[in-house]
Amino acid sequence: MNCPIQSRDSERLVAYAAGTLDTETARELEQHLAGCADCRSMAAEQTALWRALDVWEAPPVSPDFDERLYRRIDQGVRLSWRERLARAFDRMPLRQVLPLTASAGLLLVAGLLLQHPGSIATVAPRGEIVRANQVERTLDDLDLLRQFGTADSGESAHPNAK
């Protein structure tokens, strides 16, 4: 038999520790272990690990597990799509709910705008007003700067200015 460690076949040692090797392979492996300290050590450690993991018993199942499940199944059958949606969001952490809500909101608005193109026109004037105000203010600022510019040129310290 090839050395399981050297041939990178540690599954055989794991299976040996788990007691799942067939009798013939187990006997061959035991013959190998007798002469291979590395494999013997690994097999002993794996067996010890296997026994240690046996200690871990899971707690008993709650007696009302089935009852709760059947209640949820019944509720699921009766729930409307709105309730199912609310439940789905209810179970999600806030950091997942916010982006999803924002995306859903955007999609809803986009859908509404596409369905009622006329409503775009009702939104547009407000944008126009804002833009008109901004243009007006910018023109005032430019006038002011021009006035300053004129004043500056009059008081320039440059020798060629006069």
């Binding site: 794996q46 026994r51 871990w56 707690p59």
Partner: protein
């Protein structure tokens, strides 16, 4: 689609249905037989909850996730096709939900979580007599060490070990549950057992 694909899938479905009684039960659930769903629940309830419990290490969460597993099984009854063993399919759903929970929980809390000292810890049954206080203490210390060692493994390694050790699944089935190759499972188990041996192999002598 290739002409032979439908025939192949059909043959696979038939083969699994013949070999796997659970798949047969699930096909009956698909036809509206709720008694068959009850039989599947009774048969697999404990193993699913125990598997998820050992993965997430919180009893309440484990039961909640297991409820979700069986709910999904029930809700997907109409589209069920027995292309794999029922247990493989069931544990694939369970692993998926539990690993997702672990990932979200890790991000939420940013640290390992163990319900140490929770009332969910089982009392050890030592043959037919009650354990002494000292035996119980030694057991609880060992248990805590085992749980910590398993919890320290990456999620997929943890799932592979639990499926191998407690569900006694062969490598090929673990690969189908975790949706990876058999060689990937070998690698997962090799690394996981190496880590666990280093942390727990001394226990037998203590």
């Amino acid at each position: 689609m290739e002409p032979g694909v439908n025939n192949d899938v059909g043959a696979a479905v038939a083969a699994v249905a013949i070999m796997d009684y659970d798949a047969e039960l699930m096909l009956r659930v698909k036809e509206g037989d709720t008694v068959s769903f009850g039989l599947l629940l009774v048969k697999h309830r404990a193993s699913v909850i125990h598997f998820v419990y050992r993965l997430v290490q919180e009893q309440a969460v484990a039961e909640e996730l297991a409820q979700e597993v069986f709910l999904r099984v029930y809700r997907s009854r109409s589209s069920y096709e027995p292309t794999a063993k029922f247990k493989t399919w069931l544990f694939r759903i369970a692993s998926h939900l539990a690993l997702n929970w672990l990932r979200d929980e890790k991000h939420e809390r940013g640290q390992e979580r163990l319900d140490d000292g929770s009332p969910g810890l089982p009392l050890r049954q030592v043959s037919d007599r009650r354990p002494t206080v000292e035996q119980e203490l030694v057991y609880q210390v060992k248990l805590r060490e085992i749980r910590r060692a398993v919890a320290a493994l990456p999620g997929k390694q943890r799932a592979a070990v639990l499926l191998h050790k407690y569900e006694e699944m062969p490598y090929a089935q673990i690969a189908r549950v975790l949706e990876c190759s058999e060689s990937a499972v070998k690698s997962l188990l090799y690394r996981a057992y190496e880590t666990l041996r280093a942390r727990l192999a001394h226990m037998e002598t203590t």
